[in-house]
Amino acid sequence: MIDGKMKLLISSLIFTFCVLSKGALEKLPLTHILVQLPLLICVGYLLVEDKSQKIGEWYIGGEWNKGGYASLLIAIFTIAFWMLPRSIDAAISSGTMELLKFLTVPLLIGVPLKLGWHRTHPILKGFLKAQAISMLGVAAFIYIHAPIRICNSYLENAQQDLGYGFLYTSIALAVIWSAPLFLSQSAKSFHLQILRG
């Protein structure tokens, strides 16, 4: 198992990588949306350690986040904001928005996901996964078939590449999330999830 300090180190390294490779990753929407943003989410996700929190029980297991709903809602609304092409455009053209992106994606998506996901009911988890797979398919359709440039900062063919990226991500997530369920070993951990859920 990776301990808290190691997670913090990895988180810092990923964040540094995202900052240093900003220009390269933001050159194309494909790498901007499907590489940089997920990496920033990982940064936040790794920031929170389950047990050794100084803030204490309230933070990890408090009533405020019963069922993980509060933190999941924060994460979902922040994701929704950064899904808007206009937000992505602004992050490129405005330094303030860029800074906001580097702060909000880890802190308002990664951290809440970590805080809420393990408390989320398995049915809701399954629903959110199914939703993610199908809506990535819809996003793929939108980006591939859009008759206009959705982002002013990117070319039309680049946005089509992103569309295909969404499609392949959707397929990959479907496989990654469902394949372990066929194995009995993972079923046991799934059972634990149920007991915890």
Partner: protein
């Protein structure tokens, strides 16, 4: 042999079946009106005919899926603890979905058929507004979400109880690691397989439904018509097939109560259900055999898998049923008779589908009444018969277990009506009478009129089944 260890959610399921029974009757009456209109026995405006056709299609698919879901939930909940509230949420979403669909048809005059095939919902030629098409699509999405939640609840419990999907599909029995006596019961194997393909179908369906919704309001976002058709038919095929795969659970669970011989998960049974899991998803291109722009391999796959699809059904369920019934001294009553009829109807109904699944035949038959002939046998004498059988089973203790004259009459009338009604579709199809036409030529009307008479018989039989069910429930409540 794993035995049932939990009390099923009887009251909730009885209520659900009551709702479904009422919808089935209503939809049958709509079907009767359509056939009568085609036979020029009554006059229905063409626009209204297509609205009725859309309501009939969506309503029947909905009622079949609702009964299938209720049956699966009832029997799975005997083996694992299912959270009843999930079914309540499912039912609520389902009913809201139905409201949206009925509203889109009755208030918005939506009439594009239940398959909502792109681009028809968006290009109505003034027959309906965008809002009506959107309401229809939202209704379908609500129903899909309901099913997704129900599948997740059943799926997670089966996965945790039976050691993964593989365990619930009885793969250890296939590999010989576990003896059939220790295998999950057939109801579990069938439910697990159905949940997997139905969930995949719903996820694909959700994607194409939302894409269609976007296209409705922003037409410049054009859906790739071929991709949309593939996704719609993948979803539609899987969803309607899932109804009967859920309903057959009733046969696996109820028939052994009559024969006294437990229905075991044999190696062949487990292999067959894993094959069904793949076939149901791979066979859908047989709906697109006339789309010449489809890749040749996909169409060939559709034809070959159509042949193969019948094998697990016929060998495993139909053949096994015959074996279980043989020499069992079964005491027939309405429930057992209807369940056996359901398997027979399913087995017979698959034959016209296999024939139409041949590319050379499909070129001629696809848009004829041959196809409704297939799916009406499949549903009317298959899934719906099983559902009525399950309803009779639910109230079995409330009435005498004898196969009373009224039951025999209702069964006979329903069977005769069902055979005659579906046969008229097949005959018309063989004569190249087109399907989905509101107005028929004079030469086609004889079959339409005969079918109308048979439809009336079906309704009389179904009315008695539902009436008996209501009386049975009322008797339960009194005792």
């Amino acid at each position: 042999m794993i035995k049932p260890s939990h009390e099923p959610h009887s009251n909730l399921i009885k209520f659900t079946m009551l709702l479904a029974g009422a919808v089935l009757l209503l939809m049958m009456i709509i079907g009767l009106l359509m056939r009568a209109a085609q036979g020029d026995l009554i006059e229905i405006d063409a626009a209204i005919f297509y609205q009725l056709m859309t309501a009939h299609g969506a309503g029947m698919v909905g009622a079949a899926s609702l009964t299938g879901a209720a049956i699966m939930w009832y029997f799975v909940s005997r083996y694992v603890h299912l959270v009843q509230e999930v079914f309540v949420v499912f039912l609520t979403l389902f009913l809201f979905g139905v409201l949206f669909i009925l509203g889109s048809i009755s208030l918005g005059q939506f009439g594009a058929g239940w398959t909502f095939l792109f681009p028809l919902p968006a290009i109505s030629g003034g027959a309906w507004e965008t809002g009506a098409a959107a309401a229809f699509i939202i209704g379908l999405i609500l129903i899909g979400v309901g099913f997704l939640l129900m599948n997740l609840e059943i799926g997670r419990k089966l996965i945790s109880t039976f050691d993964g999907i593989g365990g619930a599909l009885a793969w250890p029995v296939i590999s010989g690691k576990v003896a059939p006596d220790d295998a999950p019961p057939p109801a579990i194997v069938a439910s697990m397989a159905t949940i997997i393909f139905n969930t995949i179908g719903i996820v694909v369906g959700a994607a194409v439904l939302v894409s269609s919704l976007i296209n409705l309001y922003v037409p410049s976002f054009e859906v790739d018509a071929l991709l949309a058709k593939n996704m719609i038919y993948f979803f539609g095929h899987v969803f309607i097939n899932a109804t009967i795969y859920m309903a057959v659970v009733a046969v696996y669970e109820i028939i052994p109560e009559y024969t006294g011989k437990p229905w075991k998960t044999s190696r062949i049974f487990a292999i067959a259900w894993s094959a069904i899991l793949l076939f149901v998803m791979a066979v859908y291109p047989h709906h697109l055999l006339q789309d010449t722009v489809m890749p040749a391999w996909a169409l060939i796959m559709g034809q070959i898998v159509s042949y193969l699809s019948g094998i697990p059904l016929l060998t495993v369920t139909a053949f096994s049923l015959c074996v279980y019934l043989r020499g069992s001294n079964i005491k027939w009553d309405l429930a057992s008779a209807l369940l056996v009829l359901g398997v027979a109807g399913w087995s017979v109904g698959v034959v016209p589908a296999i024939i139409d699944g041949m590319i050379s035949v499909n070129k001629i038959m696809h848009n004829t009444q041959w196809v409704p002939g297939h799916f009406h046998i499949y549903l009317l004498l298959g899934e719906v018969a099983m559902s009525f059988g399950f309803m009779a089973y639910l109230i079995k203790e409330a009435k005498s277990s004898e196969f009373q004259m009224i039951d025999k009459t209702a069964f006979g009338v329903y069977l005769a009506g069902g055979i005659g009604f579906t046969l008229m579709f097949l005959v018309s199809g063989a004569m190249s009478v087109p399907r989905r036409w509101a107005v028929h030529a004079e030469e086609w009307m004889l079959q339409d009129r005969i079918a109308t008479a048979f439809a009336l018989l079906v309704i009389v039989g179904a009315l008695i089944f539902v009436a008996r069910y209501i009386i049975g429930i009322a008797t339960y409540r009194r005792t």
